[in-house]
């Protein structure tokens, strides 16, 4: 069951690529900013 509005967003820290730059994305380091989390299925596909 997907989380819903009003729920606290679980924190995570994951490897991330921004353009050609390798780094990490930690959700909690963006407190004070709105965040749009876009989950999608697979790179290089219409899904």
């Amino acid at each position: 069951m997907a989380l819903n509005p009003g729920d606290r967003a679980p924190d995570f820290k994951l490897p991330a690529m921004t353009g050609e730059t390798q780094g990490e994305f930690q959700l909690s380091s963006h407190t004070g900013q709105n965040v749009v989390l876009c989950f999608y299925a697979l790179d290089f596909t219409p899904v």
Partner: protein, 109 residues
């Protein structure tokens, strides 16, 4: 993801950080963003522990499709305190409508 890139300035203007996320590797992400002409927001790799973030958000394993091993397509808009303000789970091939996401972000600014 290219739709988000095309509208990134609007999200930035609303103090919103966009991040794409799935279980592909960062090396796949690197090639993918290049194929789209370059993305200037991060693509995170929810690879190990496998789909841990997607599981925490309740979208793994996928329920909207039978394609094994991947998360559902979903957008979560989080406010500045880290609370979910808006969310939507999409059909696998349904692209998110950027205007409804912007509408969700705008009041949070």
């Amino acid at each position: 993801m290219s739709v988000m890139q095309a509208n990134l300035a609007q999200f930035t203007g609303l103090n919103a950080q966009v991040v794409g996320i799935n279980t592909d590797t960062i090396f796949t992400h690197k090639a993918f963003q290049k194929s789209l002409g370059g993305l200037s927001f991060p693509l995170a790799s929810d690879r190990w522990p496998y789909a841990e973030a997607a599981t925490a958000y309740g979208i793994f394993p996928a329920v909207k499709h039978q394609f094994g091993g991947v998360n559902d397509r979903a957008v979560f808009v989080l406010d500045k305190e880290g609370k979910i303000a808006w969310s939507k789970v999409y059909e696998l091939r349904q692209l998110p409508e950027v205007n409804e996401i912007l509408t969700a972000v705008r009041p949070l600014m």
